[in-house]
Structure formats: structure tokens, C-alpha cells
Symmetry: C2
Subunit: 392 residues, 2 copies
């Protein structure tokens, strides 16, 4: 096991009608002017934005609005938000939405207090020293951004999708009402569950052992998400199942499932980032589409962990060789993805990249850190290309 | 499941030599003068106190010292600490020790900023509005006080042992180096493991279901602690096992294993508090001594959860009636306690209360909230007396 830092300062209010307490939570932070940041309209249609505004007004907290965040949030919108924050002297950004909105809010928070170009942080040029406080009213269980240190932004110039992580960006508070997710379409629900699972899987599949307690928490979390994702396929309006998935989403990416580990593998995420940058696919679906190919390419190098995953998470019986058990686990995971309507390859994802596009994605994916990435098995550009080809 | 708030702001530095970063962590908080609070000398003998002092000196942070905290920390020492903090204008209390030292530090933190008697908070008269920031260098895995909101103090006047909980008292940071626990005597190690287990068990055994994810995390945590407690009985110098237990100790009491639950049962703790108040026994041993009797008295009212505990935590086979399985789980837990050298009744604990003393403990235990306490089964004074008699 490795030494670690664990820091999850986000105050979570979880349950029905908790969005009505948003104003009180903002007030606790001492903020004087809020930017309410949101997406493309669903929070208006459902009346959520009005309830949040009313909650701020009740506490006499002034606010300005900036909507229009799209999935795979864009750098241009971040620049727009930075300009608004500076002009309006905003001192807290309230993200009302899912991961895209929260990630955009974090980027705005970093950029508003930085003299240079906020992309500097995302392209690895330097590290942020400050961030405006972020608050969240969560409408989608998926990215875990409501408690995490990370943020992913797409630069339209070159369609580069890049992540940046800093404890400074961890939200001060997060309001989580599972009722807000009851009406989500099946596909989005399944994408969210996949993303949640993958945040723990990325930390679970590593080249070295982490901690027994971390593994046991991770395995329990993954079993819970799989069970409830299948429940939601049958009963999308089940509050309890929505709540299980929503809370798992936060715990899956707040650091808990990585304590003592090496930081995780993250190759499925990195490959999906290239897919998402080039084709604008849903993040969760992209992850499901590449995971099986990645797993089959690397599992021999992480046989112990793939075997444990099969036995403890996928319910595979302890029969046959370690390799057979590991492969049965990968198969079981792909069957689970299909059962919740997720793709297990690029064709099912609805994407047919040319060989040139595959090569371009592999090339971009290998950029930085000497071109060698991953933990279960260290991969280079030719490995990445091969996995993408396998995923066709 | 119930709505919940989750708030664990403590920044944890976990691993070897992390105590050397204490000064840097204090500096991050902006504190100008520190009270170093500790126990009865082991931190001096091991040189830990010197290393912590050196770390503060390196950052030019002045400090004053107050040692002498005993197990079941006393109110008189808290008063002494409050006086020192006021006189010396201390703005951060650094607890170097285990749960007793941390609990004493929290009480001093509340009292230093309060005009009245700090016991007001512990006897339920009113709630604290402020607390001096607390930092921790942990030397014992047990109470989880390093991340928790709670603090337990014994008032020598009447030997009342009472707890108070507030998010204001949650430490700002905690330095956790498992190496500092390598030389602990077996008995103290076993007491710590029992306390850790019981923090999750109190939240797990409830009258209503919490969340599937919370149960699965709790079960994984309990399995991990039991496994590593047995390992440590054989190999006390095993760093990894010490680390598993230390991190489990924090997660067991920081709120994670109670999310969505009803707040827990806490009757074993309440009964032990009376034992500890009257006989000054080790907290963990006291818990082990009363748990079996409590469990046998209440299990029929919580059969589903006692059955799950037997199957998922204690490894009992799924054979026989629910009641048989539940009883086998209780028996397995008592066997585990014996295996790590813990008592399973008062005689084994080395305590032989008279009938009058039993009645006195039951009477004190039932004080407040109309005398009805517990979740699996609501207990009143006669129930408490009966459980204490069963535990003889």
C-alpha cells in the first residue's frame, strides 16, 4: 500500500427537497454574489432553477445567470463565465446540473482568479493557486464531480478533451435530491451508472495492491451500483434505487475508493476522452464501448485483481483457472452493460472511425508523460491503437 | 432510508513519517499559537512529541504544552486547558495521542470560546456555537475521534461520562502514521479494534433499513477489521495490518457507515459509558463485555440485520432458521472477541458490580429523553438492568 492524502471537505445534504436549503448553504459560506451556472434548459423546464433562485432570494443573496453548458463542456463557455464573474464580482459559483455543469463551474472558478489562460491548467502548463468557491445542486448521478477534485473541459480548437484536478476545486457543498433524477431517460441513467462504476474500476484495476479495506469498500460499491442499475432498468421511478446510485456516484470519485492505491489505471477514461473529443459521444457509453477491449488486452498483467473482480463483484463461480475466471468476469461485465442498454464496442456506440481517425486518437491519447500510461499494464501509442481497433 | 448530511472536512495525511508534516498543516490553517495536548508520557518516551515540536519550530509556530490526559478524560483537565488557551491566546489545539487526548482537546476547544461551563454541552443544557480549530497526530487506532464530531468526557463529580457531538469539533487535519501504533500492547490493540467495530455495529444494528450501499461498506469494513485484528494478534509489528485498522477506525466513525440510517442504536456504548464512569475500565473491553448480552436481549427485534451480520460479516453458513443463523452470528462475534483477548462478560472484564451498583448504572443510563433509548429495540431502565445482569 502507498501513503495517501484523503480530503473530502464537501458538505453533502442528501434527500428529498434539499434544494430548498441551497440559499442557507450559500449563506453559511459567507458569499455575497452568486453565478448560477446551468445547462441547456431542463432545469428551467422542471422548475428547479426557479426553486433554487427562490431559495437564494429568501436569504437575500444576489445572483447572475449563465446557462448553455453542453455535454463535454466547452472552453468557450468557460471563458464566458470567467468574464461574467469578473464583471459582476461573483464570489461563489453555483452549479445546477450534472457533471458537465460542475466541471465548467470549476474551470470558471480557476480562471476567474488567474491572470493567464485557464487552459494552462488543463494542458498541464501550470497549477491553479486559487479557485472561487463552488456549490452544487446535483441533477444527475454520474461523474462524481460534486465531491471530486477533477474537472474535464473540451477545447474546441483541436477538440482536445483534457482533465485537471486540484483540491481547490472541490465543491464547498452539494445538494443531492435523488427525486431530481427520477425522470432521466434510461440511456442517460445507464451512462451515469457506467461512469460511476468506472471511477471505482479505474482505481481497482492497478498494477499493485492497495489496501484490503479499500478493496472491500470498492467491491461493495460496485455490487451496489450494478444491482441498482438493473433495478432502474425495470423501475426508473424507484427513489431508493436512484438514491443508491446517486450516493455511490459521489463516493466513487471523492477519493475513498483509491486510498492506499497507486492512483489508478485510467486508460479506459483516457481512450474515451479521445473518443469524446472527436465524436462527442456520451461519456458513460464511450467508457462501456472501450472497457472490454482494454480489459482483454491487459488482464494477464493484472490476473489477481481481474480474478477478484470476477468472484467478488460479478458473482462468477470459483471454477477453472485464474485466467478462465478473469475472462468470465470480463464477459459478465459486458453482459451487464448490454443488460442496461450500454454498448460494448464502437459499432454499438454508433461510431465508425476510419483507420486514420483511430491513429489520430491513439496519437493524442499517448501525448505527454513520455507516451507511457496505465497501471495494470503500461501502454504506449501502438497498444492504444490496438485496443481501439479491438473495440471497433 | 432517511435523508442525511455528510460532512467530513478533516484533511488526512496517512503513511510513514507523516508527523513531520504537522507544522506545515498547522501553517495551512493560519494558526498563530498552538496548544500541544497529550497524555501521560508515552509520546515523550517515544520521541514523538519532540518530532512534533521540531515540525512546528521549523515553521516558526509558537506553542505551549499541556500533558496529563488520562483514559476516560477528565473534566478537570479540560478546565485546565481552557485556562491555558485563554491566558496564552491559543488559536489551535494540537492533540498528540489517541481518542482521550482528542476528546479532551475538543472539549477545551468548545470551552475556550464559551462564557459558561463547558459541561453545559455534555449534559445537554445547550449547544456549542464555536470551537477552536483542532489538529491531530494520532497514536492509537480506536475511537475515530480524529475525524468524528464526537467527544466523551468524564465529570469526576458523580463520575458521569457523557458525550457531545458537533461538526464544529471535527478536526481540521489528522496525521496518521500506522508506525506509531506498532508497539502497542496486545490488549490496547484489541480494545481499539473492538471500539472500531462497535462504531460501525452501532450504526448497522438499527430498527429500520438504511441504504444498501451503506450496509455493503459497513460489512466490508467490519470484515477487514476482524481479519486484521486476528492478524495483529499473531504479528503485532505488521505495518499493513496496523494501517488497515487505523484507516478503518477513522471511516468507522466519520459518518460514512451511517448514511441513510436512523442514527444508530448506541445502547452498548451507553451501557459501557456507565461501566467506564463507575469502574474506569478500558472502553473497548467494556464494549466487548456488554455486547453479547445486549445482542441476545434484542436480536429477535432485529432479526433481518442480525441474520445479515451473521452471514456477511461473521461467515456463518446459510443453514437453519433465521433465528438460528442470528444466534450463530452472535456466538461467532463472542468467539472473535475471545480470540483477540477481549472479555465477553463483566467477570472476564475484571469487574464485579453489586446489585446496587448495577441498579445505579441502569438508572444513570436511562437518564434523559424520557428514559427510552436504542433503535433495534427501545430499552428502558428495567431492560438496561436486565442486560447488565446478563453480562455479569
Amino acid at each position: 500500500m502507498r501513503d495517501f492524502q484523503y480530503y473530502t471537505p464537501t458538505k453533502v445534504l442528501f434527500g428529498r427537497n434539499t434544494e430548498e436549503k441551497t440559499g442557507a448553504l450559500v449563506k453559511e459560506t459567507g458569499a455575497k454574489k452568486v453565478l448560477i451556472h446551468y445547462g441547456t434548459g431542463s432545469v428551467i423546464r422542471t422548475g428547479l432553477l426557479d426553486r433554487v433562485k427562490a431559495s437564494l432570494e429568501k436569504e437575500d443573496i444576489p445572483y447572475v445567470l449563465l446557462g448553455g453548458v453542453v455535454p463535454n463542456p466547452r472552453l468557450s463557455k468557460v471563458y464566458e463565465g470567467i468574464a461574467v464573474c469578473r464583471k459582476e464580482k461573483v464570489d461563489l459559483i453555483l452549479a445546477v446540473g450534472g457533471g458537465s455543469v460542475i466541471d465548467s463551474a470549476k474551470a470558471i472558478g480557476y480562471g476567474a482568479l488567474y491572470d493567464g489562460d485557464v487552459w494552462d491548467f488543463y494542458c498541464g502548463k501550470c497549477k491553479a493557486k486559487e479557485c472561487l468557491p463552488i456549490g452544487v445542486v446535483l441533477t444527475l448521478a454520474a461523474t462524481g464531480s460534486e465531491m471530486s477534485s477533477s474537472s474535464v473541459i473540451t477545447n474546441e480548437e483541436g477538440w482536445l478533451k483534457r482533465g485537471y484536478g486540484s483540491d481547490l476545486g472541490r465543491p464547498k457543498f452539494a445538494v443531492m435530491n435523488p427525486e431530481l433524477t427520477l425522470t432521466l431517460p434510461d440511456y442517460q441513467t445507464a451512462c451515469g451508472c457506467t461512469d460511476i462504476l468506472m471511477h471505482t474500476m479505474e482505481r481497482y484495476f492497478t498494477g499493485e495492491a492497495s489496501m484490503e479495506i479499500t478493496d472491500s469498500l470498492a467491491e461493495g460499491l460496485m455490487r451496489t451500483v450494478m444491482h441498482n442499475a438493473l433495478l432502474l432498468k425495470e423501475k426508473p421511478y424507484d427513489y431508493d434505487a436512484r438514491a443508491e446510485v446517486m450516493w455511490a456516484g459521489s463516493l466513487s470519485h471523492n477519493g475513498l475508493t483509491g486510498c492506499g492505491g497507486d492512483g489508478g489505471d485510467w486508460m479506459p477514461h483516457k481512450l474515451e476522452h479521445e473518443l469524446g473529443g472527436m465524436f462527442d459521444v456520451a461519456h458513460g457509453a464511450g467508457l462501456a464501448a472501450v472497457w472490454g477491449s482494454w480489459a482483454r488486452y491487459v488482464y494477464r498483467d493484472g490476473l489477481t485483481r481481474f480474478r477478484s473482480f470476477a468472484l467478488k463483484v460479478c458473482g462468477v463461480k470459483e471454477e477453472g483457472s485464474d485466467e478462465e475466471i478473469a475472462l468470465k468476469g470480463i464477459l459478465a461485465m459486458e453482459q451487464f452493460y448490454r443488460a442496461i442498454g450500454m454498448p460494448t464496442n464502437l459499432r454499438e456506440l454508433g461510431v465508425e472511425p476510419t483507420e486514420d481517425q483511430l491513429a489520430e486518437m491513439a496519437r493524442k491519447c499517448a501525448l505527454g508523460v513520455g507516451g507511457a500510461k496505465g497501471s495494470v499494464k503500461v501502454l504506449r501509442e501502438p497498444d492504444m491503437l490496438e485496443i481501439l481497433r479491438m473495440a471497433l
